[in-house]
């Protein structure tokens, strides 16, 4: 077999095997790669950071298990940021299949903070520091309805408590008491938040999305409809970096640990594209 034929016809199993090795090795021996935060992520971080004591932020965890690897680190980073700076936070999901992931992220971060808390004041208390609203179908109902009254839409929270009896909810009534909503999703849900909640009630919207859908969201970021934007695992790693650098939050940084794996995977894919094109050119010249 001639050289260009070999370059053109690499067995796909070889590609799979090499990719498998370069992706898994850095995950087995993790090391945190330093990332430099980009402006869209910094803008989101600043908007969350500026939440005043009389306001809360909403975290919409509408991401499916398929994109957990990319988006869950964002949820964890935002929750760490909120809890460390004592911001009040409301968590919800717009679809039922995503409730479990929101629960998982919340449980993990609450446990992280409460395991090192020494006093009741230091602890993260349900109803005082955060509320898990759960799921309310169809999505347009909470999107528009929370502009009038949050406790009318979520009469009970995820655990069955009367929402308006929770301490935090005495002051948080509707979007007027919300500083920013951070929508974490791999679909077009963040655009719906702009269409309904922002256009009608002026709610600030920040976004965390998959790398694939990032390009779709840039027009909305450029116009200022999205206050900030975290794109893919790199965006999550940048937010983790900002939270640690600015507030000294220690904890496992899953997205930052995966940066090495992501880098190698990108380089390998690029290498194979180059090899394929060399083979293609040699073959064309031979013809």
């Amino acid at each position: 077999m001639k050289i260009y034929e070999r370059l053109n016809k690499i067995d796909r199993r070889i590609i799979y095997a090499i990719l498998f090795v370069v992706v898994t090795l850095p995950l087995i021996f993790p090391s945190v790669l330093k990332v430099t935060p980009m402006t869209p992520v910094e803008n989101l971080f600043t908007a969350v950071d500026k939440t005043t004591d009389d306001k809360a932020l909403i975290l919409d965890c509408s991401y499916a298990p398929q994109i957990k690897a990319e988006v869950e680190p964002m949820a964890i980073a935002v929750l760490r940021h909120a809890f460390k700076t004592r911001k009040k936070i409301l968590v919800l999901s717009l679809y039922v299949e995503m409730i479990g992931l929101a629960t998982r992220a919340l449980n993990q971060v609450v446990e992280e903070f409460n395991s090192v808390a020494e006093t009741y004041e230091d602890s993260i208390i349900y109803g005082r520091d955060y509320v898990f609203l759960g799921w309310q179908p169809p999505p347009i109902v909470p999107m528009l309805g929370m502009g009038e009254s949050i406790s009318n839409i979520y009469v009970v929270d995820y655990y069955g408590n009367q929402t308006d009896t929770l301490l935090m909810m005495q002051r948080i009534r509707n979007y007027n008491d919300i500083s920013i909503l951070v929508a974490l999703s791999g679909s077009r849900i963040p655009i719906s938040w702009v269409s309904y909640a922002q256009n009608r009630y002026g709610l600030q919207v920040g976004v965390g999305c998959t790398a694939v859908s990032g390009a779709d969201f840039y027009p909305y970021y450029q116009t200022g409809q999205f206050t900030g934007l975290m794109v893919g695992m790199k965006g999550a790693a940048e937010y983790e970096e900002l939270v640690e650098a600015n507030h000294g939050v220690k904890g496992r940084r899953v997205a930052s640990e995966a940066m090495l794996s992501l880098t190698y995977a990108h380089l390998i894919i690029m290498l194979f594209i180059v090899i394929g094109n060399i083979g293609f050119f040699l073959h064309r010249r031979k013809k």
Binding site: R12, F20, G100, I140, G145, Q222, T263, I269, F280
Partner: protein
């Protein structure tokens, strides 16, 4: 009559949906809030029941008639029954009337979700990376000027978004941001405007009864 009632319903519902955005007067917004917060939620609850009923019917029928891959339908029905029973009676925080632990073994709805649904869904999606790598190697050929431009832009963005990009040049990530903010946004905005106009036109056709394919039934 079978077609006229749905057409009247869609006309009224469509009109009410549009009007709420152009009449901000409180007297109308009260009705709008009632439609969204009460009526819509009741309708969605019916839709959930209808969807579950339909799912069960389709798979029961498949088993009864022993259609292709009917064995998998048993899996679906068993998984459906188990998760429904545990979800309904085990409670969302494992605090329901149904015990969800045997010794140290826990089988509450969250544990099932974290140990079955998440790994299965994540694994399926992870396979995409391998197919993408193989497909990029086979299909990403510099055959024309446009393909060359696409490849160069893709390489710059791929390197620029990585931490490696900053090590190569401090200006590379900023250049990548420019690509995403300017040429990408220009293209995306054109597509978004086109889609929006298409959605408006199709919605109007449906509301006015010009487009009737959604009614089904063919001729």
């Amino acid at each position: 009559m079978k077609k006229r009632i749905p057409l009247i319903l869609i006309f009224v519902a469509g009109l009410l949906g549009v009007i709420s955005f152009v009449i901000p007067h409180p007297s109308y917004q009260v009705y709008d809030a009632w439609i969204r917060n009460d009526l819509l939620r009741v309708l969605s609850a019916f839709a959930v029941v209808l969807a579950l009923g339909s799912l069960l019917r389709v798979h029961s029928d498949k088993i009864r008639r022993k259609r292709r891959n009917w064995q998998y339908s048993w899996l679906l029905l068993i998984a459906f029954a188990v998760s429904a029973i545990i979800g309904l009676f085990g409670g969302v925080a494992a605090d329901g009337i149904l015990p969800t632990t045997i010794g140290s073994f826990s089988y509450d709805i969250q544990t099932l979700y974290e140990n079955i649904v998440i790994p299965l869904a994540s694994s399926m999606f992870a396979l995409l990376a391998f197919f993408m790598a193989s497909a990029a190697y086979r299909a990403f050929r510099v055959r024309s000027m446009e393909a060359t431009l696409l490849l160069v832009a893709a390489f710059i963005v791929m390197i620029g978004v990585l931490p490696l990009g900053y090590s190569i040049s401090k200006h590379l990530p900023a250049f990548v941001q420019w690509i995403l903010n300017v040429p990408n946004v220009a293209g995306q905005r054109g597509i978004v405007l086109g889609i929006a106009l298409g959605v408006v036109a199709t919605s109007l056709k449906i509301i006015l009864g010009i487009e009737r394919a959604w009614l089904g039934g063919g001729e």
